[in-house]
Symmetry: C2
Subunit: 350 residues, 2 copies
DNA sequence: CCGGGTTGGTAATTCGTATAACCCAGCCCC
DNA sequence: GGGGCTGGGTTATACGAATTACCAACCCGG
């Protein structure tokens, strides 16, 4: 107990002793070092001994000498609390593993003290880089300490402009969603947003901007009464859909700025006895996999490409992150299901 | 570039030089080692120098000496793919952090080669222990290599009986769910299961056993036609609920063995024009947070205590895991919402 | 039979930290 | 005035792997 590393396992010295060679030989043989010549016999004996004794390299000794560890830090304000956000970790972890790296993950839950402490710990483990991920797209302040290592901001943008960021292309998403409804023949298209459009929520602002652009491009004059501010939850969809559909000039289609809002809208429409897509067409946003495919009918929505974004974050880190604050935007592809069809009037007017 | 550790940062030697003392003094002062005497002046100088230079301990050097790292491996076949499973990591990570430990997480996605390789890597990093977590409760085979470190199986049971396991108390859950419906006055209670009761799915087997026990305890004779095997998805709930309610003697209440099944049941009942809970009472299982609270009406269900289970796994590891294969079962508390009320007949017969 | 090349390996050092063992100056006390 | 204690530090070493420099033996040609 007094001796450190009491159950430390087999070391190269043990292997060397068993094979009757020096520790240096073991190292060189096991690592297949270039430019060394050893007899086949020696190689065989070393490999056999290593296998026999169940030798496993001590990563810490290696890192101590080489300076950089095979680990990447992943700090998020969520980890997996957000239902869909798991994808972002999954992507990051998969890409990291392809490079032989492991992820050191911490879910701060927004706790700044925990965040600072875990970043310190990660740095003391000489991580090759840090991914600083956010649960929802926003503009955030990155802790200064991250300047010491390669770092990238994921699913948000760095306010200071010091770090490369990765975020979804919200405006294009809003445009695509709206265009889908326009192409189906709709003219009165409402939007239930997930926040104010003058706030700091890029998703709300961007998706709305895309909605407006599509409308204008189609030569339509946006009706302010058709844009409603929800809260991103079911109730926001429910209440606003109810108001919209019982108003004087109800829309024939609704673009819900996220899937939860769309779900609330489904519930409101069901309560009003309106059918989707026959009476009202719907497009959502997020492609939340526990929700969108399982609604009846399946929800046509835009996918947040979290898997790819997670992968890309690691890739940037590995590429050395040119240390500029540029943001890389990812397109949100349309996922077609069954919540959109032509409007009644349109069909009938044929 | 040739020299290793080129940007290794400040070391104790740098601090020692700056403070005009030896490296040993720096170590002893910074670690507040017991049984040493240093003048206040020296302590001050050392601390000042350390702070000034931004000294951060090199965790690898420490581990190399001490033998054990401040990290715990977390291997799962999901990480966060399963919507609710994030809680399990969250709990584990939170508890680990309280002990000053970081989590090294890997999502294997069921890939055995990746699993083996990442376990090797974790062991080479001298993790203090490994949590082997499963997406759904089952009996699984733990890789032999885990015998080399403290390990605990989370949300499943180890077939070999070598490792302590943590799992939810399925039978009691099924009993509690059914009892809730019995207490409300229901007599014809159906169950839509999430798998066969002769299979290897403890959730399906256990919850059913609990259902039967509650029924028998109430002096009721279980009607075999009222127990249906679904698939754990919405469609399993939808199809079976439809069949159940359009049959000769429909139930007045349904226990759905998970929330997704319950959701499908909601959709089927809506289609039949039946109201919840007035026409049919419902109890679910899982308390899936993206689902159960947002259904209309809110779903009364049983909570899978993942947060606590995750915490407990780390706790067992820290306690040294007595290395027996006993399973610790966690109770699933009932979460009351609005999907249960008295049956019509019952109310009227008053 | 000596110089030089090749073959097959080893000794020694380095990374940064923790700690056991030791050392020295000053002071007290008999 | 010498022995012993105490306060205040230092020296040396180990942890495990990678790597550079070096070395010994052998072979071959002239």
């Amino acid at each position: 107990m007094n001796r450190p590393g009491s159950r430390s396992g087999t070391t190269m010295n043990d292997v060397a002793a068993a094979a009757g060679v020096s520790q240096a030989t073991v190292s060189l043989v096991l690592n297949d070092a270039a430019g060394t010549r050893f007899s086949e016999e020696t190689r065989r004996r070393v490999n056999a001994a290593a296998h026999e004794l169940g030798y496993r390299t001590n990563a810490h000794a290696k890192v101590l000498r080489d300076g950089v560890a095979g680990m990447i830090g992943f700090v998020g304000d969520f980890v997996a609390t957000a239902p869909f956000a798991g994808k972002i970790i999954e992507g990051a972890q998969a890409r990291a593993w392809e490079a032989g790296l492991l992820l050191l993950t911490v879910n701060t839950g927004g706790d700044k003290a925990l965040e600072a402490a875990s970043l310190e710990t990660m740095l003391s483990y000489k991580v090759a880089g840090v991914v600083y991920a956010a649960m929802y797209h926003r503009v955030l302040d990155v802790p200064d300490v991250l300047a010491e290592v390669p770092a990238v901001v994921l699913n948000s943008r760095d306010r200071s402009g010091r770090f490369p960021s990765i975020a979804p292309q919200e405006e294009l998403g809003g445009y695509t969603a709206t265009k889908r409804l326009l192409d189906a023949g709709h003219k009165r298209i409402a939007m239930i947003n997930i926040g104010a459009v003058d706030g700091e929520l890029p998703a709300a602002v961007g998706r709305y901007a895309g909605y407006l652009r599509a409308l204008k491009e189609a030569g339509l004059h946006p009706d302010p009464g058709l844009h409603r501010i929800g809260d991103g939850h079911e109730s926001g969809g429910f209440d606003n859909a109810l108001a919209l559909m019982t108003g004087p000039q109800p829309p024939t289609a609704i673009f819900c700025a996220n899937d939860r809002t769309a779900w609330g809208t489904y519930q409101a429409l069901a309560q009003l006895g309106l059918s989707i897509p026959h009476d009202v067409s719907l497009v959502g946003f997020d492609n939340q996999e526990t929700l969108a495919p399982h609604l009846r009918p399946g929800l046509t929505t835009l996918e947040l490409p979290f898997l790819e974004m997670g992968r890309r974050a690691i890739e940037l880190l590995l590429a050395g992150a040119e240390r500029d604050g540029s943001t890389e935007y990812f397109e949100c592809p349309l996922v077609e299901r069954h919540s959109v069809t032509a409007p009644l009037r349109f069909t009938h007017s044929h």
